[in-house]
């Protein structure tokens, strides 16, 4: 067994929250720069240019790229040979608490009904899996609500097939229009159960932009959907243009013979997530 200190987990989660909020991954910045080259709408091109300037400014000055520093989603893959000296969940929540305070990040978490703010951005949404090995892998995403609110889930009839799946995904993106801050990354979960499809769609967003699903048929579906979505003409910030999405990421899972769940998790251009291993 290898010991991992909960104090180290807290410190790492804190650091990852701030890193995610202030420093966008090179994969996303490169995708936006490429989109700016392709975009033909003058206003759309202008918006993409402003986004690049904004990301560079946030990076240089170590400040949040967006005022919505999100609800914090944490994926913890805990090696079965790791021995912890306390609660993993509590160590993560404390990391969020410290990171949002020290990084001057906005505390955006509240009671769903009274709307009273918890004042420290906790609780984080934590997804833990037990894996082989003696290390703890952490992925922290700061998920803004502008895009999250535009997500959708449908329990389709199996007879609707892949065409029904495509139609639903495109309809969700079309209805969202400029709200989710396009250019977006569209995370899709197909199959599983009601909650599994949603989990898959979130996981799909964590994938590096520009990397296709390893299954050729799914990769082809991703490419086809990306084209169909960009043909909608929504464009950067919804002002009209060729680039509405930077990528479509699909994850799939076997489902019940009577079900065809499809979840679409929308991600704005500030596709913020950071990873570390302890």
């Amino acid at each position: 067994m290898r010991k991992v200190l909960t104090s180290d987990i807290t410190a790492k989660v804190s650091e990852l929250c701030i890193e995610a909020a202030c420093h966008l991954g090179a994969d996303v910045i490169d995708a936006i720069k490429a989109a700016a080259e392709q975009e033909v709408s003058p206003l759309g091109k202008d918006v993409l240019g402003q986004l690049v300037t904004n990301f560079e400014l946030a990076n240089e000055e170590h400040r949040p790229m967006c005022q919505d520093t999100g609800i914090t989603i944490v994926y913890a893959e805990l090696g079965r040979e790791v021995e912890l000296d306390g609660s993993l969940d509590e160590a993560i929540h404390e990391g969020v608490r410290q990171g949002y305070e020290e990084g001057f990040l906005r505390k955006s978490v509240c009671d769903p009904l009274t709307r009273v703010n918890t004042t420290d951005n906790t609780p984080a949404i934590i997804h833990t899996t037990i894996v082989d090995g003696d290390s703890l892998s952490l992925t922290v995403a700061t998920k803004g609500a502008g895009s999250e609110n535009m997500s959708g889930l449908a329990m389709l009839k199996p007879s609707q097939g892949v065409e029904g799946v495509k139609d639903f995904i495109i309809q969700v993106v079309k209805d969202a229009g400029g709200n989710p801050c396009p250019p977006i990354v569209v995370g899709v979960g197909i199959g599983g159960s009601f909650e599994k499809s949603a989990m898959l769609s979130k996981k799909a967003i964590m994938r590096e932009v520009g990397v296709s699903n390893p299954e050729p048929e799914i990769a082809a579906l991703e490419a086809e959907l990306l084209q169909s979505i960009n043909d909608l003409g929504i464009g950067p910030m919804g002002f009209g243009g060729m680039i509405t999405a930077l990528a479509v990421h699909i994850e799939k899972h076997p489902c019940h013979i009577a079900s065809l769940p499809v979840a679409v998790n929308m991600q704005c251009h500030a596709d913020r997530h950071k990873h570390a291993v302890l």
Binding site: T53, E61, Q67, G177, G178, N179, C181, G235, G240, H269
Partner: protein, 187 residues
């Protein structure tokens, strides 16, 4: 950057100022903006229902839908980009009746808001969503004028210089979102 001219505006805006603006125009705002989002709007409606006045004189003014990040010591404001305007749709027609001349946010408005904007000669402007660090540079002074207990959702009076925005809906019923999408839609 495109060659399109940027129009400078300073609130309070008159009917004539608003009528001169067209969907698709790029504007630079210098002067005062008031911030309000979900919770503050709810309180505004409660005030109006009680026959009371808003915490600021809305005549000719613009409301910016924003909830900034906390301000670092020695700085003016944190990151301060627009939030989704649609969440304020239920409140906006009522607020426009007070003489407010426009709103700034991101995303589309409801048919009721668009109709109300025509009736009251108001505009809807979009700032670039997510460009929060960049937009913050145009904010020169910040003062909380109401509901401090709401934290990021408190009502702030901002003094801005060359705050960049784009006219999405003008007072004549034109809509940049509809026109833009129609222009670039394929198939």
């Amino acid at each position: 950057m495109t060659e399109q001219k940027q129009i400078k505006i300073t609130p309070p805006l008159s009917d004539a100022d608003v009528e001169a603006l067209n969907a698709g125009d790029k504007v630079l705002i210098t002067g005062v903006l008031y911030t309000a989002r979900d919770s503050a709007h709810k309180k505004f409606i409660e005030l109006l229902d009680a026959g009371k006045e808003l915490p600021f004189d809305p005549k000719g003014q613009l409301i910016y839908y924003v909830g900034p990040t906390p301000t670092k010591p020695g700085e003016i404001i944190g990151s301060a980009g627009p939030t989704t305007s649609g969440r304020m749709d239920a409140f906006t027609p009522r607020i426009l009746e007070t003489g407010l001349k426009g709103t700034i946010g991101k995303g589309q408005r409801s048919p009721e808001v668009l109709e109300s904007m025509k009736e009251h000669k108001a505009i809807y402007l979009a700032a670039v969503g997510g460009a929060a660090a960049l937009i913050a540079q145009s904010i020169k002074k910040v003062e909380i004028i109401a509901y401090e207990e709401l934290g990021t959702e408190a009502v702030r009076r901002l003094e801005v210089v060359d705050f960049p925005a784009i006219v999405v809906n003008d007072s004549k019923g034109n809509d940049l979102f509809a026109d833009g999408v129609a222009k670039y839609k394929k198939g």
